[in-house]
């Protein structure tokens, strides 16, 4: 059984159909979700992570339908995400951003109201995540004063802090310089090896092709192709969809 199945999902914004009958699955892999602007990739992410309820269709996670759950409940099931337009907690330090993620199990409980968050164990976990994402030098920096590449890593560290089984990355390489992109690719591979399943939206084709084991292509709200990177690169529909946009 795949970890995540999207079953015939359609979504309308007013009179505009953003997704048409989209079905896909994600398994123990790095799955790439690519497509031209306005293809509906972020809409699909918003549906999987609970920020939107699909007009039609189901999202099945570990065998259970989850499409009606709000985002803060989805995340408790182990689906974490980052945002295309970065949203670190701007009024907190990098370390506090990660701690905020570590708190995920507490927020819905009464002891969340009374238990202090900065315990030795939590600070230790946070340090570990900061090292993993190479952020240890920024621990006490306010998150809103950092370059975009680092803010993206803060979001990844925060998402990892909830101990996800499935990680949704929305254009993690956008705005990064070449060196950062390479480091990001290594980080994603590393996370995958640690058993985290990843779906990533990507605009940078080369980045997606080199990193993903399987790719799903969306265009105008529909899946037009899926398969291994090599197949996708040769697919005429895909080439047309991208050329048509230019």
């Amino acid at each position: 059984m795949p970890i995540l199945e999207v079953e015939r999902v359609s979504h309308w914004f007013g009179g505009l159909q953003a997704l048409k009958d989209v079905s896909l699955y994600a398994d123990r892999e790095i799955l790439g979700l690519i497509g031209p602007n306005g293809a509906g990739k972020t809409t699909l992410f918003n549906i999987i992570s609970g920020f939107l309820t699909p007009t039609h269709g189901k999202v099945i996670y570990l065998g259970k339908p989850v499409q009606h759950l709000p985002p803060h409940q989805i995340v408790r099931l182990g689906i974490a995400r980052t945002f295309q337009i970065v949203k670190p907690f701007a009024n907190l330090t990098v370390e506090e951003n990660v701690l905020a993620g570590i708190g995920m199990p507490y927020y819905a409980q009464f002891r969340g109201l009374v238990a202090p968050y900065r315990t030795t164990a939590n600070v230790h976990t946070a340090s570990h995540l900061l090292e993993l994402t190479d952020l240890q030098n920024y621990r006490n920096a306010p998150a809103n004063r950092l370059p975009i590449g680092i803010q993206r890593r803060v979001e990844i560290a925060r998402a990892l802090a909830i101990k996800p089984k499935l990680l949704l990355l929305d254009e993690p390489a956008a705005g990064l310089v070449a060196k950062e992109t390479l480091e990001l690719a290594n980080l994603i591979k590393n996370l995958h090896q640690q058993g985290i399943n990843i779906i990533l939206i990507e605009h940078n084709m080369r980045f997606a092709m080199s990193l993903c084991q399987r790719i799903v292509v969306l265009a105008q709200g529909e899946i037009i192709a899926q398969g291994q990177p090599i197949e996708i690169q040769a697919n005429e529909k895909v080439i047309n969809a991208y050329l048509g946009q230019e």
Binding site: S49, G50, F51, P70, P71, H72, V75, R76, A80, R81, F83, K87, P88, F89, A90, N91, L92, T93, E96, L99, A100, G101, G103, M104, P105, Y106, Y107, A108, R111, G112, L113, V114, A115, P116, Y117, R118, N140, A141, P142, A143, N144, R145, R158, A159, A161, I162
Partner: protein, 303 residues
């Protein structure tokens, strides 16, 4: 100035420190701007007054009931915050303030426009706390307890959860924070503290009138929080002290004290928008030249 007069001012300052700290939980911690805090202040005062006058209950019960009932009403009156944000919330809370006051004014049970008078002085451990030093100590203890509670909240997961919804509700949801739940918590806690302050006020003055808790009072409380430095613990305290003292200190030009009070607010916002002791303010940076605590600086952005 007589000692009695000074003690009255200091007692008021202690009560307003609690009020400013209570509003700071909403505005500074959870980012929910409210212009209705005086309504909670008033609900606490009226709860206490009604219980003391109509049911002759002792101070301890009045006081605890005021905290609990106001907290409960706060949970309920916080509901608009789930639907509206920013300026709309400011206006909704302002509306709540007007409606609450008109209930006090037009329902006979609450004494109408004549208010409720002859609220007995509190008796604790057999000691009567009518005015003077004992009452000042009583209200100072309450202000200290409030400060302790605010400090403790800022160290807990709920304190962190408040910070996340203040920053970005979507990002907060992405780490499992239900912004609805925490906004309601913030309103409940904030209202409960303000309710306790109201009870202390009612027993101190001995009478309550609807207009004491009108919209202008909400304005005054919010001004204290912003003037001192929103989001910090020291800010609302210094804000309450300065803004309560200013009109008193300016008595020698008594005719113009509110003109100057208003001008002070305007000048402060023009030159020190972070408040007098807020993070990033001139004075706080002078006092803490090496402080890297810039993270809590409210964001300079327009949404």
């Amino acid at each position: 100035m007589s000692t009695g007069y000074l003690l009255t001012i200091f007692t008021f300052i202690a009560i307003y420190i609690s009020l400013a700290l209570s509003l700071n939980i909403l505005v500074g911690f959870a980012g929910q701007i409210s212009l209705g805090q005086a309504a909670f202040f008033g609900i606490g005062a009226y709860t206490s007054a009604v219980l003391a006058i109509r049911y002759s209950l002792p101070f301890t019960i009045d006081f605890i009931s005021a905290i609990l009932i106001t907290g409960f009403v706060g949970l309920f009156l916080g509901l608009p915050s789930l639907r509206v944000r920013h300026d709309f919330l400011v206006l909704a809370t302002m509306g709540i303030n007007f409606v609450v006051i008109s209930v006090f004014k037009y329902v006979d049970f609450f004494g109408g426009a004549m208010g409720l008078v002859n609220i007995p002085a509190p008796v604790l451990f057999g000691i009567s706390f009518r005015g003077g030093v004992p009452y000042f100590i009583l209200s100072s203890i309450y202000a200290l307890l409030t400060l302790g509670l605010c400090w403790y909240i800022s160290k807990t997961w709920s304190g962190l959860a408040f910070q996340t919804i203040r920053s970005d509700e979507d990002a907060a949801a992405s780490v499992g924070v239900s912004s609805a739940r925490y906004k309601i918590y913030a309103f409940g806690i904030s209202a409960a503290i303000a309710g306790g302050a109201g009870s202390l006020y009612a027993h101190f003055i001995g009478s309550v009138f609807p207009d004491t808790f009108a919209f202008v009072e909400s304005i005054a409380i919010l001004s204290m929080v912003i003037f001192g430095g929103v989001g910090t613990l020291r800010g609302p305290i210094i804000g309450a002290i300065i803004l309560r003292l200013t009109p008193e200190l300016l008595r020698f030009i008594s005719d113009y004290r509110f003109t100057l009070y208003g001008a002070l607010l305007v000048l402060m916002m023009l030159f020190q928008p972070m408040g007098i002791l807020g993070n990033g303010s001139w004075l706080w940076q002078k006092l803490h030249p090496n402080n890297r605590d810039v993270a809590n600086t409210p964001q300079m952005e327009v949404k």
